[in-house]
């Protein structure tokens, strides 16, 4: 009998009963875990793999014995091991996306256990997913996921073949619900942990995506150029510089090296067609890129729906056409004084009809266009060896039209009626020609104080100048409001300190922020009538915020996340100035503020045979005050700081890479949004809804998916096949507070199934995909009285030399 084992048994006899119970439980867990996920045994060769530049442990690195089929991947601690290698000399190849492959030769002798630690360097040429194998997680993906803040990261590679929208993709993520009012081009609100609308900031490559007129949305981004999507829940990383209540979505686009072209076309149910063309050329001698892209969409959205207002009435949507056209011309220089110098000229134009649901709107429509330039400068070792700099600037000019002049109103039975006031969606005829100028910059300086300590200074500035013009409305109201201008300036400055402690097992990120915004100009309060004086706005406000995020690698494969934040969401221009149709201005609005807390735990382990188990669970609480909410204002609506809420909940996600081909996922979210306004606004009267669930916000939802990907499934070579299924269940929720037994307004529960297939040939240069959303044509609503299309099928063809 092994003496050491005997000794352990003996000592075990004197352990307390409690310890024995713990040991039994742990043993049981280990047995179950071992049964489910057998771990590699043996110590013939082992070691750790780290990033040379940061010292960060690299998980998912492929370690292969050259010339054999023997291989493994590093676990979340960067460890790898082989148990039974033959005696002799072996050539090992360490490879990882975005890093240079590291070949190593090792000599093994009988009875000896060898340790081989490897440091890998970034490979600028390989950085952009050019040689990606789906089973390895890219470095950027890993870095994005393993932060102290709760974040979901979606791999853009899995989206590149799909013809659906970003909104549909993120709708299956933990803590996220997307709410739409119709088909393509309709209003889309993204709800993250109970917050939605302007409270969830949308970024593209770290730039705030929102335009003052709301003309450009997240769904306007084509899926095939997305490197990854990061969904931050609770705390927004300071380098983004924007405001927000703690939730943000950052869409990171690909930056591939070399020349390539990309063309795609998608056809979808209900007359939706979309496509784009892109060509990017690399001039090696000049180290210069030039690119040109053009894309567009034409959507009829002509699905039929049951009228939520008139029982038995089926309405075919026939005034919901949406068209958009966009394009960009880019010039990019590499490795000059700046590592990257990019100028891009962009334009975007859209035109949409307004579909009525309650009333049959026949004429009203909106249109607009934007054009402008962006500048990106990046330089490592800027001014000093230890400082990196990124500067992004943008200047946009846009025009927005609302055409709503109808002298009649219509019902869905062919009848028409004289309109008391002209216009179908407001009570004033509109033929507007509003102008907008939008100037922004974002400067980010990162300075490495010590190997494990860096500071980051971020300064984000934005100035939006609007000019309202609507001479028809003026003539109707006998006013002279056209030509009024308003300027809104916001500046958010942040300073953060990132530090690694305790052998890099703990990472802290401490941030301080200063928020400034000012509004100046003339606005029109629509509820004031003829000859009313315009409101003169001149407001300036300063606020301070902070955040702390801690990441703790407390055990092998385990990560603890702790984050807290005090932040602000500044009023948007439409909230301050109104929309001149339904929303009146309120230039006295204060920013919303929130205190957010998050505690999360993450598990990530690789197993033999390309298996991998990932789990993440978070609990959170967010206290939000001064919430801007719409309230009735004499036939119009206005935004007021009247809300206070406590949002709390828990979410979890499990991903199980069953094999090299099969991938499973399930996540669940339970979120409560509790009304914490003690009193009715402006009074000391107790609010009867205090401590109740705030209505019209989803509470419980579950998503699951199964994904099968395989090369050369049908024989041959250079082929790729993928089949996937996604399901989502959302529990019902109500439009009103739970105050009565007669709750009539309910958003019913839904269970939506999506299936899809992708097939690519010629190393994915030619791809065909087909997807069916809402396979069983279930009733689907995400907003009260806005029925969605039901089953939709889309097919997509893509030709590209872009590696993905």
């Amino acid at each position: 009998m092994d003496k050491r084992l005997f000794g352990r048994r003996f000592s075990g006899q004197i352990q307390s009963r409690k310890m024995r119970i713990i040991r039994c439980v742990l043993s049981l867990f280990v047995m179950i875990a071992a049964g489910l996920f057998p771990v590699v045994q043996g110590q013939a060769l082992s070691g750790r793999v780290v990033d040379c530049s940061t010292g960060q442990l690299l998980s998912g690195v492929s370690v292969r014995i050259d010339g054999t089929s023997i291989g493994t991947v590093t676990d979340s601690d960067g460890r790898y091991s082989f148990s039974t290698l033959d005696v002799g000399s072996h050539r090992l190849v360490f490879s990882f996306t975005g890093m240079k492959s590291e070949p190593r030769t090792v000599d093994l002798y009988d009875g000896k256990t060898k340790t081989l630690n490897v440091c890998m360097e970034e490979d600028l040429i390989m950085m952009n997913g050019v040689t990606v194998e789906a089973r390895y997680e890219r470095k950027e993906m890993k870095k994005a996921r393993e932060q102290g803040v709760p974040v979901s990261v979606i791999d853009g590679k899995l989206l590149a073949g799909r013809g659906t929208s970003i909104a549909e993709v993120i709708n299956h993520q933990t803590g996220v619900k997307v709410r739409r009012t119709g088909g393509a081009g309709s209003d889309t609100k993204i709800n993250v942990r109970g917050l939605e609308g302007n409270r969830v900031q949308i970024y593209m490559d770290g730039h705030a995506l929102n335009t003052p007129d709301g003309s450009f949305s997240i769904n306007d981004l084509p899926l095939q150029f997305i490197e990854r999507i990061e969904i931050y829940k609770g705390i927004v990383p300071p380098e983004f510089g924007g405001d927000g209540l703690g939730s943000a979505i950052n869409v990171v686009t690909v930056e591939p090296e070399g020349s390539y072209y990309d063309a795609w076309y998608s056809l979808q149910s209900y007359g939706v067609q979309e496509g784009s063309l892109l060509y990017k050329h690399y001039f090696p001698k000049a180290k210069m890129y030039s690119a040109v892209m053009i894309g567009g969409e034409h959507a009829l959205n002509n699905y039929s729906m049951q009228s939520p207002y008139t029982s038995g009435l089926t309405v075919k949507r026939d005034h919901d056409r949406f068209r958009k056209l966009y394009g960009a011309v880019t010039l990019e220089f590499k490795e000059r004084y700046f590592d990257k110098f990019e100028i891009e000229n962009v334009f975007y134009a859209s035109d949409r009809e307004v579909q009525g649901i309650q009333a049959n709107i026949r004429h009203a429509r909106t249109a607009g266009w934007l054009a402008g330039s962006t500048l990106k400068l990046e330089k490592k070792s800027f001014l000093t060896e230890k400082m990196d700099m990124k500067l992004r600037g943008m200047a946009l000019y846009g025009v927005n039209h609302l055409n709503d002049t109808s002298s009649c109103t219509y019902d869905f039975y062919g009848g028409y009626f004289l309109n008391t006031y002209r216009g179908e969606i407001g009570s004033v005829p509109n033929l507007s020609d509003d102008r907008m100028q939008d100037y922004r910059y974002n400067l980010n300086l990162k300075y490495r104080l010590l190997p494990d300590m860096s500071i980051n200074l971020n300064n984000d500035f934005r100035f939006v100048h609007t000019e309202t013009n609507d001479t028809l409305a003026d003539r109707y109201l006998n006013t002279h409001y056209s030509g009024f201008t308003t300027g809104i300036a916001t500046m958010i400055s942040s300073f953060n300190l990132e530090n690694k402690w305790f052998d890099r097992r703990v990472t802290t990120l401490l941030t301080g922020r200063h928020y400034f915004y000012g509004v100046r100009g003339k606005t029109v309060d629509l509820s004031y009538g003829t000859n009313a004086m315009p409101d003169e706005a001149n407001e300036r406000r300063h606020h301070g915020g902070y955040s702390l995020a801690v990441k703790y690698d407390f055990a092998r494969s385990w990560l603890l996340k702790l984050a807290l934040e005090h932040n602000y969401r500044l009023p948007r221009s439409e909230e301050l100035l109104g929309d001149r149709v339904r929303i009146i201005p309120n230039t006295k609005l204060r920013p919303e503020q929130a205190n957010n807390y998050n505690l999360g735990v993450m598990f990530d382990r690789y197993y033999e045979g390309f298996r991998r188990l990932q789990m993440e669970a978070n609990v959170y609480a967010m206290s939000v005050s001064d919430m801007m909410m719409t309230r009735s204002a004499n036939y119009y609506m206005g935004y007021y700081n009247v809300g206070k809420a406590l949002l709390w909940g828990a979410d979890m996600e499990v991903k199980w890479d069953v094999s090299r081909e099969w991938f499973l996922m399930v996540n669940a979210t339970y979120q409560r949004s509790i009304d914490k306004a003690r009193y009715v606004a402006g009074t000391q009267t107790p609010n009867v809804a205090y401590d109740m669930q705030i209505p019209h916000i989803p509470i419980f939802f579950v998503n699951w998916s199964a994904d099968y990907r395989r090369d050369n499934l049908f024989g041959g070579r250079r082929q790729y096949s993928r089949f996937y299924y996604e399901g989502g269940y959302t529990d019902k929720y109500y439009y009103g507070y739970n105050l009565t037994v007669n709750q009539n307004f309910v958003i019913p529960s839904s269970c939506i199934h999506t299936v899809g297939a992708e097939y690519a040939i010629l190393d994915r240069r030619v791809l065909f995909s087909i997807e069916c959303h809402n396979l069983f044509n279930s009733k689907e609503l995400t907003n009260l009285n806005y029925p969605l299309a039901g089953r939709t099928v889309q097919a997509k063809l893509r030709l590209t030399t872009l590696k993905w």
């Binding site: 207002y309 008139t310 309650q358 009333a359 049959n360 109103t409 219509y410 019902d411 869905f412 009848g415 009626f417 004289l418 309109n419 008391t420 009570s427 109201l477 309060d525 509820s527 004031y528 009538g529 003829t530 000859n531 009313a532 409101d535 009146i584 006295k588 919430m627 909410m629 719409t630 309230r631 009735s632 004499n634 036939y635 206005g638 007021y640 009247v642 949004s673 009304d675 009715v680 606004a681 402006g682 009074t683 000391q684 009267t685 009867v688 809804a689 705030i694 209505p695 019209h696 916000i697 439009y735 009103g736 507070y737 105050l739 009565t740 037994v741 007669n742 009539n744 307004f745 009260l784």
Partner: protein, 403 residues
């Protein structure tokens, strides 16, 4: 010992009474509805209206419970006729009238529904009841009056007012709203909207023959603007048979327009040229702003009426609808054209309901520190309640009293 036991028993009994009294005054609705309220509750991204039954036992400091209320679209109105309560949606929702019948258990049972028009922008206005078998419902934006049977909730006819002879400046859109029947004639107040809440200058009415259901006359008066109002609060008939018509003057947003009261004397179908009670230009020394904007009207008796007035001195510039408390309560005398400020707390801009209950006049207020609900005024003693006679959670938009 007996004394101690007796004392303990009495204390216990007393505590039970206290507890019971507290319970009765807060939540449970157990007696037959006496009042029915139309209220709004706003949340983050939604606003829901409620039709709320209120039992008589709560009408002395109790709290209206929403437990038995019915959810309806936001900003509802309510009309009471006999044992029925009719929910009228606001003018921007589908014109579907819902009927509820009060039950012995304190609830309201939905038992009828009438779609006034397939045009969901028809703009339901007010209801005028003639009998169990006949009623008018005005469609403000479709410019019609629908004739229906309130017992069967069946439409029996319609009166088309979308004609140039009834519209302001030949517009064919008179926007009929409030209605009052007298001596076989129905007087229909017309808002003559240019862009809500703005009306064209002047007060306009259409006179309809109730027997033939045909319009007979179109009358106007340029001294006041905007004849009648939502919730049947815009027209009343006094004991002499004279009709007083409220002119809301676009809530004061249109300079030059005058709010106040016009009169149609008994036997006449024209505005009385000798009478206009001008509220807009009335200087009221008791109030800080000196002038008020008329927002609601409820006739009581013997020429006495009660109004809400919006005092600009208590409104932000621009007005903050959510937080400002600019509404004050006044007693007026329509005969000698006097106006008296009542000692009731100020309220927010959403206050719309004034009604008589027994000997009391009840004002629906949302006050800064005294609570929200109906505050009482006793016209005999002149006493005003300092706390709500009925606490109401939400904004009271309209109410009706069951006989």
């Amino acid at each position: 010992m007996k004394t101690v036991n007796f004392t303990c028993t009495m204390l216990l009994a007393a505590s039970c009474f206290v507890a019971c009294d507290k319970d009765n005054s807060s939540e449970d609705v157990t007696d037959r509805a006496k009042l029915v309220l139309a209220i709004d509750m706003s949340a983050s991204e939604s606003t829901v209206g409620y039709i709320v039954p209120v039992g008589e036992s709560l009408l002395n400091g109790g709290t209206a419970s929403l437990a038995l209320a019915h959810e309806v679209y936001a900003s509802p109105y309510v009309e009471v006729y006999k044992d029925w309560a009719f929910n009228i949606p606001n003018a921007y929702m589908p014109p579907v009238i819902k009927r509820f019948t009060r039950q012995d258990d304190g609830s309201l049972m939905p038992d009828g529904e009438l779609t006034l028009s397939q045009n969901n922008q028809a703009g339901a206005g007010n209801i005028l009841f003639f009998s169990d078998a006949k009623a008018y419902a005005s469609l403000m934006l479709e410019n019609k009056i629908i004739i229906f049977n309130p017992s069967t909730m069946q439409k029996t006819g319609e009166i088309d007012l979308a004609k140039p002879e009834y519209g302001i400046n030949g517009s064919s859109t008179p926007n009929p709203l409030g209605m009052m029947e007298r001596d076989g004639k129905v007087f229909v107040g017309c808002l003559g909207l240019s862009s809500p809440p703005l009306s064209h200058d002047g007060a306009y009415m259409i006179v309809i023959n109730a027997a033939t259901d045909r319009p007979e006359k179109f009358i106007s008066d340029l001294r006041g603007t905007g004849a009648s109002f939502f919730g049947n609060q815009g027209m009343y008939r006094d004991e002499k048979g004279d009709i007083y018509v409220m002119c809301y003057a676009s809530y004061g947003y249109a300079p030059g327009q005058k709010s106040g009261f016009l009169r149609i004397k008994k036997g006449s179908t024209d505005f009385d040229p000798d009478y206009f009670f001008n509220i807009t230009d009335r200087v009221i020394p008791e109030i800080q702003g000196e002038h008020v904007v008329l927002t609601n009207f409820m006739y009581d008796r013997n020429g006495t009426a009660y109004i809400f007035g919006q005092n600009p001195a208590y409104a932000s510039n621009p007005i903050d609808y959510a937080n400002d408390l600019p509404i004050q309560s006044f007693k007026i005398n329509l005969y000698d054209q006097t106006l008296t400020l009542l000692d009731l707390p100020r309220s927010n801009s959403y206050s719309h309901s004034i009604l008589r209950y027994g000997d009391l006049i009840l004002f629906g207020l949302a006050t800064q520190s005294a609570g929200a609900g109906y505050f009482s005024y006793n016209p005999v003693t002149g006493e005003t309640g300092k706390t709500p006679f009925l606490n109401v959670p939400g904004t009271i938009l309209d109410a009706g009293v069951f006989e």
